[in-house]
Symmetry: C2
Subunit: 425 residues, 2 copies
Amino acid sequence: MADYHEMWKDLGMDVETHDQLCEVLPQAFGDVYLSQENRPEGMDYFNFVVAEIHGVRPAELIEHQKKGGKVFGTFCVYVPDEIVFAADAIATGLCGGSQFWVPGGEKVLPTNTCPLIKASVGARLDRTCPFFRIADMYVGETTCDGKKKAWEILSEDVPVHVMNLPQMKRAKDVKAWAEEIREFKDKVEEFTGNKVTADKLAASIRLINGKRKALQRLYDLRKNEKLPVSGCDALLISQIAFYDDPTRFAEMTNKLCDELDKRVEDGVSVVADGTKRIMLTGTPLAIPNWKLHNIVETSGGAVVCEEMCTGTRYFEHLVDESQTTVEGQIQALAERYMNINCACFTPNEGRIEDILRLAKEYNVDGVIDVNLKFCNLYDTEGYFVERAMKEAGIPVLGIETDYTDSDAQQLRTRVSAFIEMLNNA
Amino acid sequence: MADYHEMWKDLGMDVETHDQLCEVLPQAFGDVYLSQENRPEGMDYFNFVVAEIHGVRPAELIEHQKKGGKVFGTFCVYVPDEIVFAADAIATGLCGGSQFWVPGGEKVLPTNTCPLIKASVGARLDRTCPFFRIADMYVGETTCDGKKKAWEILSEDVPVHVMNLPQMKRAKDVKAWAEEIREFKDKVEEFTGNKVTADKLAASIRLINGKRKALQRLYDLRKNEKLPVSGCDALLISQIAFYDDPTRFAEMTNKLCDELDKRVEDGVSVVADGTKRIMLTGTPLAIPNWKLHNIVETSGGAVVCEEMCTGTRYFEHLVDESQTTVEGQIQALAERYMNINCACFTPNEGRIEDILRLAKEYNVDGVIDVNLKFCNLYDTEGYFVERAMKEAGIPVLGIETDYTDSDAQQLRTRVSAFIEMLNNA
């Protein structure tokens, strides 16, 4: 790995503390990823991205800024990256997925806040992540209590624009979301000094759709009985999608998919015949949170789908590319994004339908409903999810966890028992 | 107390379990209230209301229903009672304030949910509160994650109408809230079969304003150096305001205020000169949650103001009575209600301004920032509240508690130390 210490110093990072993270990440990655057998060669690119995660991409973003470009940091799959790219700016995900950042968040947030929010706030305030330093403006949303209030704290340290996501999905709510997107466009134009024209927005809609199509292709390949790629690897790709250059990401993912196509043709699988196919549903798994996938896949199961923000919620549904006016494009964006079914909506029956549909499409043997501790939304909705699974005759296991390793052994016991039960069914 | 067992049975209540609550409530009330010295005679009415809380008022509501009237149950100070009363229906508060109902809620909700929500859901599903049985329709709102999702569970058992409260306070949000009130009006009209006319709405606006004015008068009296009424008593009145007949409530509160006026004239105080004046700020204290007031007032302090839903947020700001069209009245309602500063909004600087203003108006010596466990909104906002107090030189104590008594001793120690510190300052 190249030495990025100068760059990190220039970013005003706490380099000494950050070094502690740099020391443990390769080990963690190696344990989960490099120990896997029969990995596709196309994963080399994604391995490289992780190995240089706080180096290569940050350097690109800084390069972009040196040319006068802006970088927007986002935390949610409802925020339309298309607007950002249409203004010659770059959007990058900022969700913290490591326990490393949690204590920093707990200095200002209640302990009873989900680890994703605590880690995100900690990464900023402790100055221990280059992405959080680089982003010129953060884009927040009103998806949950914890995030909604965290923006207030973050906005004392960095410019934050908050989008008011409606809490329901009536016709007027889609209209209200279009209005929020319009205001976001105005804000982005003002902040970048660049105009979002219909041509530029059309191009960025195609750009982000291209990323979605690549992910759809990858996920479609996971529907095969002969599984050409592990759940761990697919998750890693989903996580990297939030950070990477969208053109290169789509290109590299498609390249991997070419290889996976060949595997399917040849009947190559990363798991033994009969390995139980698990779908995870629930709260997002931000990088480097690979805990549950690792447990499932070292306990005799295979993760074949994630009904999560780091999963199907990120790429299902394309934005209509046929609109030729900014107004029409904004409407198309609003409609596409309001199709995502997050537990922050009430009611959110669409998500139950999604899970049932995905369980069929991916030929799933069992569902694990995973909740990040203190996410009240997904935790409460789990009541409906688990009931619907039981009604549909799909075995389901409810799990609550955080970013620490303290429950790993207990989770392993429960997951193993679940898979054992599936094997004996 | 009269015997209401037949009525409770007719309501489909679990009378046996409910009897356990009936057994403990008088003792709890006696301990906190009847042990107070020098109480105003006007409190007799409110003592009576509590003594018969599951009898007299429920019987009135049932009488109203027998005449074809409807009853709406509400959970939030943003829901405009005016609309309900204008349709010849009755609105009644439904927030659960006792640990008694919490385990029932925990059967379906995450343990990490605030006790108020758990108690409210438990009171309904366990059939242990007449108000929860009587209400023909519940009115929910999207104020917090926990409530938003709890409506989904409750709506399987009772009709629920959910109002989408905006999460910000821009001009368009006030407009959106007016639109929600309009839809609520349509819903209430449809459900009751009664038309909400401008005349009827004008009358109900005056009715609810009358209740607010009575509470304002009561709270104004608490601003006197010679404190004519205890915090415990004032809290009880605030709590009863959510349930009682608004006309009678205003009448009885005004009658009490006449007596308190006399006390002020005569220099009568319920506490010794120099008793430290405490303001509570934070999450609501639903009946029969008197824990913190009792602790403060038996530890040498006096509660002189509650910046809470059960407090100033409920009655500050009147609805403009000069509007003569339903459209104008709805706009006036939207503006009045959007003036309330709840932590569910982002940002919510108005609340800090309220607290600083109230601290002056009530000549407060110290502020206790009290949070119901797992209320992420007020807990996070506490960061700003407590900082603002320190900056203003107002001593502040942050407390997190729930409905159990397990922390009472610890709270007493902390509150005593706080008051001791104020005494020595």
